[in-house]
């Protein structure tokens, strides 16, 4: 993509990057799905005023996310979209669809309520569970993104095959998604490069990071160096685990490097400080449990579940998270957190099963 000078410096000056905010979707995880429509409108309006072009709005699990498994939000997705869409003047509203949870019926409803972009997400080896949803989104004329989650669990070559499948179903952009916040910049570069080599030139590449190892910004820049042109981030990092790539910090770095995001840095800084941080129930930061996610390669959304169940069954959250990583649990298997905690509690003599 960009040419490197002799000392390895890659000049990204003038590169355009589309920033996609996650506060009102990934951030729902950090808020245990409890964001009011008033807060949603406030956040979305501030993002819109700051020039953020794409804003994801939904339950943390996206379409179909309201469940015992993933928690019930304060409102239905439809109520959130109806509240937010009339207040955004420049930005597009997007949604997440994970096949196996969200369905085409719900996608149609999202479209009917003004959503114009969809991220169709599968585990990084299971792209072939997404063809009907990607095709349906294209049929609706939506901006259609394929999203390969937990991408550290597949090789660059494997991801290239999976990304190519999503492109063949109709995806206009394919993401490398670091759901566990596990990757280091070189991991990101190899994966984005592998995608760039196989995808059509007009198919975009995106990167979605989590800040569990503090690498959100560095990984996003690494992705851009290899040709990514969409970056997911959230103001003040409001998202699962230690949060997403903090958007205002990313924009500041882009400004310094001459990357064009079209966003107003000072407005975003103010919004982070005045709107998002006061909304947080707990500081979204790298603590020992979220660091464990990044270190052990565990799905970021598991964090708060593991903390809650750890307290319930008397087992440190870190132990539960490490065990979930060892058992190779992936996104969507939140039920296995309680199952794992119960099995560990029994083994440690902390819990007796009445049915056994």
């Amino acid at each position: 993509m960009s040419t490197a000078s002799n000392d390895g410096f890659i000049d990204l000056k003038g590169r355009k990057v589309l920033v996609h905010d996650m506060c009102l979707r990934d951030g729902m995880h950090a808020k245990r799905e409890q964001i009011s429509t008033e807060q949603m409108v406030k956040v979305a309006s501030a993002l819109d005023a700051a020039g953020v072009p794409l804003i994801q709005v939904a339950h943390g699990g996206g379409l179909g996310g309201n469940s015992l498994q993933h928690g019930f939000a304060m409102h239905s997705n439809e109520e959130y979209w109806d509240a937010v869409v009339p207040h955004v003047k420049r930005a597009k509203v997007s949604v997440l669809l994970i096949p196996g949870m969200g369905t085409m019926k719900e996608l149609q409803s999202a479209y009917d309520h003004g959503v114009r972009s969809v991220t169709v997400a599968t585990h990084c080896t299971e792209a072939d569970t997404s063809p009907q949803h990607i095709a349906y989104a294209r049929k609706l004329g939506m901006d259609t993104v394929g999203f390969l989650m937990m991408a550290h669990l597949n090789t660059p070559e494997g991801l290239a095959v999976q990304g190519k499948m999503m492109e063949s179903y109709g995806a206009e952009c394919v993401y490398i998604t670091d759901s566990a916040g596990y990757m280091l910049p070189e991991d990101v570069k190899r994966r984005v490069r592998a995608l760039r080599e196989v995808l059509k030139p007009d198919t975009q590449i995106g990167f979605h990071g989590h800040h569990n190892l503090g690498m959100g910004i560095a990984n996003s820049i690494a992705a851009i160096e290899e040709g990514a042109s969409r970056i997911d981030a959230s103001v003040a990092g409001l998202g699962a685990g230690a949060g997403n790539t903090p958007l205002e910090v990313f924009v500041a770095v882009c400004d310094r490097m001459g990357i064009d995001t079209g966003c107003d840095l000072f407005k975003l800084m103010d919004m982070a400080e005045d709107v998002i941080v006061p909304m947080m129930d707990q500081m979204v930061r790298i603590d020992r449990a979220s660091l464990t996610l990044g270190f052990a390669g565990v799905y970021s959304t598991f964090l708060l579940h593991a903390k809650r169940l750890g307290v319930k069954y008397g087992i440190p959250a870190r132990d539960i998270l490490v065990e979930l990583g060892r058992r190779k649990m992936i996104g969507g298997q939140e039920d296995m957190i309680e199952d794992t905690a119960l099995t560990m509690a029994k083994a440690r003599g902390l819990f007796t099963d009445k049915a056994a």
Binding site: L68, T103, E126, Q132, R327, Q333, D335, L342, D353, A355
Partner: protein
């Protein structure tokens, strides 16, 4: 010793994983005999396997089977193709008096979960029964066990299956799987509202099928009676799926009842991790046996539809 019992002769439609696994299950049955395997690809591994196991085969779809139905006295057919072709298959075969067991998500006939409603279906003698989905077979008995004790306003199930255990048809049509299973949680499970989630996990070595069942009861759950009912239901399922096992629970949290199950397959065609495959084929075989018993005893008469 009594004389060897006559067996009901069966056809298997679809030569994929499910169809091939069914050969093993039906061959072991004292009441059923697999006679025909129907495919659409002459080179398919399933058809070759079926020939090796002594079945007659055709690669011309159901039309290739039709001329032989009467002369070979085929009375029960298992359809493991896809929702899109099931109705056509069923119409052609039921017209000849063949009873259909539908393992696709088509669900044009009544939904069947053996320990919940098989006896009722066998009494009525339906000509087409639908087996819902692997997740449905693995979870609906538990929902029913709870709803038998007290009202369930909402039930939600999460099925995690090994990536290697699900074929291209299911992958490309996950929504049908979701809709069919959610509906059956209500219709057969007895919950007023149902929701199904599926997760495909690629871990190596492949994970055993796991199922979590959550029920929200109307009133405070009667813990002792629900636990007893769930354990009894598990024993019923174990009669045809020995690897159906309670891992944790029932756990009670307010009005929420959580049950964590595992299904280990018999390892007939696919390895034991594919408990999702086994629970479908075992439930279908069990269903066919109940009908076979009725036919052999003269209680059920199959009528051309």
């Amino acid at each position: 010793m009594s004389a060897p019992q006559r067996k009901i002769r069966c056809a298997l439609i679809g030569s994929g994983n499910i169809g091939t696994d069914l050969i093993y299950k039906i061959q072991r049955s004292p009441l059923l005999e697999p006679v025909w395997m129907v495919g659409i690809d002459a080179a398919s591994e399933g058809l070759a396997k079926a020939r090796d196991m002594g079945l007659k085969t055709t690669h011309e779809g159901v039309d290739g089977l039709l001329p032989h139905v009467l002369e070979d006295n085929i009375q029960i057919a298992f359809d493991a193709t896809s929702a899109y072709v099931h109705k056509a298959n069923s119409d052609k075969l039921t017209a000849l008096g063949v009873m259909m067991i539908d393992l696709t998500p088509a669900a044009i006939g009544p939904l069947c979960v053996p320990p919940v409603n098989l006896v009722e279906h066998a009494t009525r003698g339906a000509m087409n029964l639908n087996m819902i989905s692997c997740a449905g077979q693995a979870t609906i008995p538990i929902v029913r066990a709870v709803s038998n004790v007290q009202g369930v306003k909402y039930a939600e199930i999460i099925a995690s299956v090994a990536s290697k255990s699900i074929g291209p048809g299911t992958r490309a049509n996950l929504d049908e799987f979701t809709y069919t299973t959610s509906n059956a949680i209500e219709v057969v499970g007895g919950a007023r509202r149902g929701k199904a989630l599926i997760v495909v996990n690629p871990a190596e070595p492949p994970m055993l099928m796991r199922n979590t069942i959550y029920c929200l009861t109307d009133d405070a759950p009667d813990e002792a009676r629900i636990t007893e009912s769930v354990l009894q239901m598990i024993t019923e399922v174990q009669k045809y799926v020995p690897g159906y096992r309670l891992v944790n629970g029932p756990v009670f949290d307010g009005n929420k009842v959580a049950v964590f199950m595992e299904v280990k397959g018999l390892g007939d065609y696919l390895p034991t991790y594919a408990g999702n495959l086994d629970i479908m084929t075992a439930a279908a075989t069990r269903t066919a046996e109940m009908f076979a018993e009725g036919i052999l005893a003269g209680r059920i008469e199959l009528k051309a539809a």
